[in-house]
């Protein structure tokens, strides 16, 4: 019964492909890009100061407010700094883990590590964030651990650091940073491990054979070939940090982040244009980041 259909499709590749692509393109085009476009439109609409009603007239006033108001600029800088720090830390922590998974682990150990990396993603995100608040609290296990090791002074010293410190880990940017790194680490490890797995062992042997010490092999061969994986992972960690609003509102210092601002402006404050303008910021930052990564040759080895 299916035979005539199969015969019909055979040799009509373009038709077949377009038929396959139609549903996803429709979804992507209308639902996804359409709503994004509607959001962007909002950021150019004016808002009536007295009635708080949105007036569909083109204006750049919202963007002006975004870039001139010092509090708004602070939010963007704070979020960006956190995203950069989290991305760098994730890269540094993930590399040895991913390298071990890709190159040294036996089949059993490898499966164990993959499950171990993904297991935390099977639990609710909220549960993990609140758990971290307890872990990092003043009476929490971390603080207890430092005290029982007689290193209370070290923790206090770290928390005394201006700006990033605070009364406890749970109410400082350091604590927020730790939770962010924990939360997005799998998104860095997995693409990095995939990239490292594609580097044939013979390339590393060839490098050693030609006289490169392990450090030189790492710099000249492993790192450049892992760069696409590092770039993919960093896009995840960077964009997830830029957009998150739950972690900054549960753990850390009271300063606002972009995600919190979007949440608040479109909810309680009812200023949809400003919320839309704020949500454009991560899009712009990530585009800049990708352009930079491309220029630095992160995708050359793809």
């Amino acid at each position: 019964m299916l035979r005539p259909v199969a015969t019909f499709f055979h040799g009509r590749n373009a038709f077949y492909v377009s038929l396959l692509l139609l549903p996803p393109l429709l979804w992507l085009g209308t639902v996804y890009l359409g709503s994004l476009f509607a959001l962007l439109m909002q950021s150019f609409y004016a808002i009536d100061e007295f009635t708080a009603r949105i007036v569909p007239e083109f204006t750049l006033a919202t963007y002006r407010q975004l870039v001139t108001h010092p509090a708004n600029v602070d939010i963007v800088v704070r979020t960006l700094a956190m995203a950069v720090a989290v991305t760098i830390a994730c890269g540094i922590v993930a590399f040895p883990v991913a390298n071990y998974m890709a190159r040294y682990a036996g089949p059993k150990m490898k499966a164990f590590f993959y499950v171990g990396v993904m297991l935390p993603m099977w639990t609710s995100y909220l549960v993990k964030v609140y758990a971290w608040r307890l872990i990092l609290a003043k009476q929490g296990i971390v603080s207890w651990g430092f005290t029982s090791l007689g290193a209370q002074g070290a923790l206090d010293g770290v928390l005394a650091t201006p700006v990033v410190g605070g009364p406890s880990l749970a109410s400082s940017y350091i604590g927020m940073f730790i939770v962010f790194v924990y939360m997005w680490l799998p998104f860095m490890i997995l693409p990095l491990a995939a990239a490292l797995e594609r580097v044939p062992a013979s390339l590393l042997q060839a490098s050693a054979d030609l006289g490169a010490r392990p450090g030189q092999t790492f710099r000249n061969v492993v790192l450049p070939l892992a760069l696409p994986g590092l770039a993919a992972g960093s896009v995840f960690t960077f964009s997830l940090t830029l957009g998150d609003y739950i972690i900054p509102s549960v753990v850390g210092a009271p300063g606002y982040f972009i995600g919190m601002m979007v949440y608040q402006q479109q909810g309680t404050a009812g200023n949809l244009p400003l919320a839309a303008a704020f949500s454009v910021v991560p899009i712009v930052l990530i585009s800049l980041y990708l352009a930079l990564a491309k220029r630095l040759g992160a995708f050359d080895a793809l």
């Binding site: 030609l210 061969v221 450049p224």
Partner: protein, 337 residues
């Protein structure tokens, strides 16, 4: 000079090398020949330093290098998959050995151009490895390995991935290169033709041991064991009662297919020849020659290579009785297993 002393290496329960000792002279073109799993590649990896023997010592020019890491051994390798760095140009690949030794960039460029000229790829320096054919990659790998002026060049199945015509060209080229540079080449191959045509001496590996170490001519004409006789040039190995009936001794012997004559059954046996009767089972046409399989008894089928031109007597039809005959000095007595 390379010396292996009683070197053993096991992977779990599998013994890859079993107390192997061999000495390779300076400037020699040396082949490690054997079927897959015979230990030849393990042997090469041990010389390169990618692996460590469980027992035994490895010496380079009299110096014990068993515990010396690969990046401190004056030995370079051409890998089976070439292992060219995909993110570097051909010239950068070739100059890599100088770069990690912190040679200045002008000097690096000059030497890379010189090496690429040596392998006749002068104009390819700016290409990427993925823009090259298999034969070109092979040459880049050669140039890259030779730029450090090693005392020994190791080649792991260097011609395995090339097609037949290219392989023959590269055989001549490698041989010429080795003679010009005068350095020791050690290459691994499972192709006996390759080993015979290129090497000065060949070590035949079987099940982790060196079965025989000899010049190609000696290997071919005087194989010591049944394994060497059948692996190198696929000689017929005759053993047991048939051997005793034909030679009067119980030891097995080898007879090359091209040294046997196939005669019609009614022809009288030439005087002085060893002969036996059999049934012509099939004939495979190989161009310059044909390969006949003749069943002599239940266990034994002898292969006969018969020149296609110049035969005086036409080949009898398939299935008919034939007479096989050879001169007594054509066969080689083998060591009993």
């Amino acid at each position: 000079m390379i010396e292996l002393r009683q070197v053993s290496r096991a992977f779990g329960a599998v013994v890859a090398l079993d107390r192997v000792s061999l000495t390779i002279a300076p400037g020699e073109f040396f082949a490690l020949l054997g079927p897959s799993g015979s230990g030849k590649t393990t042997c090469l990896r041990l010389i390169a330093g990618f692996d460590h023997p469980d027992h035994g010592r490895i010496l380079l020019d009299g110096e014990d290098v068993t515990d010396v890491p690969p990046f401190e051994r004056n030995v370079n390798t051409v890998f089976q998959d070439y292992a060219l760095f995909p993110h570097m140009s051909v010239a950068e690949n070739v100059a890599y050995g100088l770069r990690v030794r912190r040679v200045g960039s002008a000097e690096r460029r000059r030497r890379a151009v010189e090496m690429l000229g040596l392998v006749r790829l002068g104009d390819f320096g700016n290409r990427r490895p993925n823009q090259l054919s298999g034969g070109q990659k092979q040459r880049v790998a050669l140039a890259r390995a030779l730029i450090n002026q090693p005392r020994v060049l190791l080649l792991d199945e260097p011609l395995g991935a090339l097609d037949l015509k290219l392989r023959e060209e590269m055989q001549a080229e490698l041989k010429g290169l080795q003679q010009r540079l005068g350095i020791t080449f050690v290459f691994v191959t499972h192709d006996q033709g390759e080993a015979l045509s290129m090497a000065d001496r060949v070590a035949v590996f079987s099940q982790g041991r060196v079965e025989q170490l000899d010049t190609p001519r000696a290997l071919y004409t005087r194989p010591r064991t049944a394994f060497v006789a059948s692996f190198v040039g696929s000689a017929n190995v005759v053993a047991g009662a048939l051997a005793e009936r034909l030679t009067g001794r119980r030891e097995p012997f080898a007879i090359r297919p091209e040294l046997i004559d196939v005669l019609p059954a009614d022809v009288p046996v030439p005087s002085g020849a060893v002969s036996c009767a059999g049934t012509l089972e099939d004939v495979l046409y190989h161009g310059a020659s044909s390969r006949c399989h003749v069943r002599v008894d239940e266990q034994t089928v002898l292969a006969v290579a018969r020149a296609e031109s110049g035969a005086l007597v036409p080949l009898p039809p398939q299935g008919s009785r034939v007479l096989l005959a050879w001169r007594p000095d054509s066969s080689v007595a083998l060591e009993a297993d």
